[in-house]
Symmetry: C2
Subunit: 215 residues, 2 copies
DNA sequence: AATAAGTCGTGATATTTTTCACATATTCAC
DNA sequence: GTGAATATGTGAAAAATATCACGACTTATT
């Protein structure tokens, strides 16, 4: 669609900016500088200015950015007005965490239904979201295009295939399995075990320079 | 410590390689090529060869890599032999997911204790891990250097401060808050809401080229 | 033994992302 | 108004990452 020239690294930071701008507005702040923003979201201020600049000149020299204006701009850019329906597959602890999380607040996504293989969970409602049995996936899924996968790794391939053949185009995969999908389906992996291992590896092998701790 | 020349991007992929090599060995495979590995972990084969090459010549031309040898090498490199103790702060749904996750399998980290503000949870044991009241943090934490933060965002700053002053050096932060820490403390953010929003943004703005779906 | 097929390791190149640094514009204090 | 302080937007440079492409070596086959 539109301007495909925004770097992916920038795109990944947009929701973060958006959320923080919302906070600022709720605090009643009307202006903000890239420096302030930088301290809050822990991204270099030059990077923030560069990110914003891909969308044109949104700020004013010597002044900074108008919170309301910037927020309005990002609302449109991030399609914050239209709500994207999401399906959750696997209502274990992790899945339940998602259901109870108030996603639609400051967010353009909404989990509208969930599935689980446990018959005891089917028919219930968690966090206001109806839970169906996984056997009814094809029947109930409807036109949802995005799915969150919080199931055991052993089920990942089978369920993914079913999701894809029902027209799912985006999958947020929390299983350790590296699932295979057609080229027109996008998968983002979040691998909790690996994140923890990577953190530990960095701690041991990449000592942070303990330069005069800021007083 | 040792060779600081390994790129961060490479370091982040190491646990992934390691896990897959383990799978291979359990399947009884003795050799593997970068091409096979590539298909399994969805990383370009040249990238894999480059990643490995930072550690020296681990493979053989015309043959590939010996699974056992590679695994042994990574076991040492990833300190897979020593277990790193981890504390979990916040035993909600997400926290419970971690406690029930069998981390020590194929993993060099172990959650050894957990804390929660709910007095009903204190004193219990979940997934074999004792849960204490958050008030006892300082008393019970001991020498643990890594913490997983699965608490409400509103508590993030206060708890972080307490963790840092007790000597925590690595934090895996699942709260939306961008916490501030001294320079010698490493924080990795995993922001579930943002991951979902980013996925949706990519779906809408970065259409994947539907080139002849592989038959 | 010779040939074909397979595969690594890596120099070189391309791409992506971050950062520097400064001209330019705005605001604020007086 | 004037000068000092503030802050953007961006050209240019640097750094980080990914990919290409091929020489060199190994294995398998006939």
């Amino acid at each position: 669609m539109e301007q495909n020239k925004i770097p992916q690294a920038t795109a990944k930071r947009l929701p973060l900016y958006y959320r923080f701008l919302n906070n600022l507005q709720m605090q009643g702040k009307t202006r903000v500088s890239s420096k302030e923003l930088s301290e809050a979201v822990k991204v270099d201020s030059a990077t923030i200015r560069r990110d914003f600049s891909y969308f044109g000149a949104l700020g004013k020299k010597g002044y900074g950015y108008n919170v309301e204006y910037l927020l309005g701009f990002f609302r449109k850019t991030l399609d914050q007005d239209e709500l994207t329906d999401v399906a959750l597959i696997g209502v274990g602890n992790l899945g339940t965490a998602f259901l109870n999380y108030n996603f639609t607040k400051n967010n353009n996504t909404k989990i509208v239904l969930a599935f689980d293989a446990d018959p005891n969970k089917a028919g219930k409602e968690i966090g206001g979201v109806p839970v169906y049995h996984i056997d009814d996936l094809e029947e109930k899924l409807g036109n949802v295009k995005v799915a969150i996968l919080t199931i055991p790794a052993t089920e990942a391939d089978r369920i993914t295939e079913r999701l894809v053949s029902k027209g799912i185009k985006g999958i947020l995969n929390f299983t350790p399995a590296r699932i295979s999908v057609p080229d027109d389906v996008r998968v983002h992996h979040i691998d909790l075990a690996i994140e923890l291992q990577a953190l530990v590896y960095f701690l041991k092998h990449y000592p942070l320079d303990t330069k005069e701790e800021v007083l």
